[in-house]
Amino acid sequence: MLLARLKSLAATAASIPITLLGLAVVTFFIGRVVPIDPVLAVVGDRAPADVVARARIELGLDQPLYAQFWRYLTDILSGNLGRSVMTSNTVWEDIARYFPATFELATLAILIAALLGIGLGVLAATRQGSWVDQAVRVFCLAGHSLPVFVLALVSLLVFYAWLGWLPGPGRQGIVFQDMVEPVTGILTLDALLAGDWPAFWDAVLHLIQPAGILAFFSLAYIARMTRAFMLAELRSEYVTTARAKGLSSMRIVWRHAFRNTAVPLVTVIFLTYAGLLEGAVLTETIFGWPGLGQYLTVSLLNADMNAVLGATLVVGLIYVVLNLMADLLYRLMDPRTR
């Protein structure tokens, strides 16, 4: 029994490097077929010919494609993602700077989305066909169909410009700029570590709008999935049995039906979280949030291929790790998989 479990775990773990290798191959070759000269990004449009030629050799672009790929692969394996042309930092340094901003945003967003999404989904399922169900459906439909930039701009207009309840773009108010020593890069956490409550509140206030908007889009999906899973469970025979035994409907819904939907829901939530962690370009742009999505986009538009490849690999790694975690949780929660 134990052996079987170890075996299946090993198989899952072995799939990680294969997935990452696949990712490296695809991103590398996409990077090479983009009709932008990478040298242009390094030395600019005005550089003299000898500088251009030198940069081409330094980047290894004079080598055949397979040699370039081999060089890239060996670099990655030794933990070297190269240097970003745009920021002239190593890609690791950049990721260490941009990722915490995205992590903070995505984590708050997924917490809100999971709590509200599950609540709304269960509510809609238990009151199937009622006005509550319809209202949840319309709410979720908006989450699926409204373009994120429209909602973000409207939110800024209403909560920032008209009502003045929430601050505008950025992670921090001007007064708090450079007041908190960066430790983790997660601003709320750093402010707490420094014991600076006003800075903490300021960071939280700045988080509300972008996190709220990202949460809205994620919760639409989570609520719909929860509703579907719950409906399937509520129609099961064990629920009818439970009702016949006279259990309270709260107990039936939460202790019996919901516990069974929790297993597939974990996958849904983890994948949504992974999606949020790769950075939400439009939300980040509108709210001036220096996150991974913005970093990836700006790098891509500037043909900064080291940064693009590095950030893509990291995003891929996050996906794989979260998938693995979902898998492990699955095994813990579902006795049949043991």
């Binding site: 030395v43 000898d50 800024l156 410009a161 773009p169 001007i174 742009t285 220096p290 700006v298």
Partner: protein, 532 residues
């Protein structure tokens, strides 16, 4: 278990305190602090020897002084910045600068000739993107000890490889790359032969009106007044906040969170124009929008066809209807505001004349041609208008939108037919654009010098010689006249239809006065800004 009433009361109290928190977070910008909303994600480095982007050079311009600069009211007039006077040797190769006394770095130390020599040698040795502006005078890592030297505590001597026009050298030294840094501070931070470059990326050691407090990429740059500046700036702190979205910039300006919005779109600027709460600062910039016609294309290589295209474009209509606040009509290769710029506009939309020219060139029914352009606004709208203009004389433009760098990559490989492109001057001297537009010493495919003229495969031995002669002319007035004549001929013959010149419009709250936007970014000046 708490009753419903208790819960209700508690939530009410929570809301009230929440409201107080929110109000506290919404102060107007503090007095003595100017907050600008700007797209600043272009900053790669704030080291003047490396910085070559819009925002980076603008900041360097406010943090450092150069040997020379240009007068604010008359950008073409050279003035001393750190240099009190200068003389050129008879051979036009030796230039001696005497420094003003009492100019101080932010540290309080006086600026010496040794600092000047260190700064310029540092540029040459580091050899980063903007270094060619200084290196083009023949300075190299090997000869810099002899060619850039101090002969006294306030005297610097530069020796160029070739006889050089004084104005050419002085304009180039006035670029951000010519900034003077404090040797003691920078050399103390040097590591691994980097001349302090790693530290200087986000710190400063200058004698300008401001010093860098912090830079956080894609977030903010904070500058504080230099307490030892020759002329103390009026505002003690400047904050540039990265706000990518123009609508968000406008909202923040309306809310009072920003004092100045730097990247508003045309319609937003128009809205602010009639509003007494705002003042507009408008400046022509040294950036051009033009159409390049590849001379490898057999039809485009006919002079009549090139003229027909220039007469087909509705310059005024495009400017008025698409980009009234962001561009002005301009048709010469030197943008207005730079010395020697030609403001004559010989071309306007004349369909009949253009058709006649096309017919005389042997294409009465027009032809089909590829048209590359950057797919972002407002260039895509301008490209569509040009397409319609060309269609009116029978030229069918096949639209090929692309990302900026892919369009540039294509033109650098000489694979375009027509391309709508942007060009910004690198430094203040007319040679910056003259070299790009009217020099092509080798038209071969593997030429070393891939100027804009080369990219359009335009073989011009005569114009190339005249451009070289102009840069070497030591008589200032004669030199300007040579550039004017060059531009006139270029307007008629070249495969470039120069259409529009960039305008920059900053929208400020009406309490903000004295912001100066420069023709080049390193001339944008914060020192005189006041806020009531």
């Amino acid at each position: 278990m708490p009753s419903r009433r208790t819960l209700f009361a508690a939530s009410g109290a929570a809301f009230l305190s929440w409201d107080a928190v929110i109000r506290a977070a919404h102060a107007q910008t503090p007095p003595g602090v100017l907050v600008m909303a700007k797209q600043i994600d272009d900053v790669i480095s704030l080291d003047p020897a490396e910085s070559f982007e819009f925002t980076g050079t603008e900041i360097c311009g406010n943090v450092y002084q150069k040997l020379t600069t240009t007068a604010t009211d008359d950008p073409a007039r050279l003035a001393g910045d750190l240099a009190e006077s200068w003389t050129a040797g008879d051979d036009a190769k030796t230039f001696t600068f005497t420094l003003k006394p009492g100019q101080k770095f932010a540290s309080g130390k006086e600026v010496t000739a040794e600092d000047v020599v260190y700064s310029l040698q540092r540029v040459v040795a580091l050899n980063k993107s903007p270094a060619f502006i200084i290196n083009q005078f023949g300075f190299t890592k090997d000869n810099m000890a002899q060619t850039i030297r101090a002969t006294g505590p306030r005297t610097v001597v530069l020796t160029t490889a070739e006889p050089t026009a004084t104005s050419f050298l002085l304009y180039c030294l006035s670029a951000a790359v010519g900034s003077i840094v404090e040797k003691a501070v920078v050399s103390a931070r040097a590591a691994n032969d980097d001349w302090g470059n790693a530290w200087m990326k986000a710190n400063s050691a200058g004698s300008g009106p401001y010093r860098i407090v912090s830079w956080r990429a894609s977030e903010a740059v904070t500058l504080d007044a230099n307490p030892n500046a020759a002329r103390a700036p009026a505002t003690r702190r400047i904050i540039l906040r990265h706000v990518a979205d123009p609508s968000a910039q406008l909202l923040g300006l309306q809310r009072g969170d920003y004092d100045v919005a730097r990247n508003l779109a045309s319609d937003q600027i128009r809205g602010a124009q009639g509003d007494s709460r705002y003042t507009l600062v408008t400046q022509r910039k040294a950036g051009l929008l033009y159409i390049a016609m590849n001379q490898k294309h057999p039809i485009l290589s006919k002079p009549g066809v090139r003229q027909a295209i220039k007469w087909a474009i509705d310059y005024e209509g495009i400017q008025r209807n698409i980009v009234p606040s962001n561009y002005a009509v301009h048709q010469a290769f030197l943008p207005e505001g730079l010395p020697g710029a030609l403001t004559e506009k010989p071309f306007k939309a004349d369909v009949a004349a253009a058709k006649k020219l096309l017919a005389e060139a042997g294409h009465p029914d027009g032809f089909e041609i590829g048209f590359d352009f950057f797919s972002g606004p407002p260039v895509n709208d301008i490209a569509q208008a040009v397409q319609a203009n060309l269609a009116a004389i029978g030229i069918r433009a096949r639209m090929l939108p692309g990302e900026m760098r892919s369009v540039i990559t294509k033109t650098r490989a000489r694979q375009h037919d027509l391309a709508l492109l942007r060009w910004g001057s690198d430094y203040f001297d007319p040679h910056s654009n003259a070299e790009a537009f009217s020099m092509n010493p080798d038209n071969g495919d593997d030429a070393r010098n891939k100027t804009l003229a080369w990219r359009s495969a335009w073989a011009i031995p005569e114009l190339t010689a005249r451009t070289v002669a102009a840069v070497k002319e030591t008589d200032g007035e004669k030199r300007v006249a040579m550039y004017e004549a060059l531009q006139r001929d270029h307007q008629q013959q070249s495969p470039f239809a120069i259409m529009l010149q960039d305008l920059e419009v900053a929208v400020a709250r009406n309490t903000v006065k004295g912001l100066q936007i420069g023709v080049l970014n390193d001339r944008t000046n914060y020192a005189g800004v006041t806020k009531a």
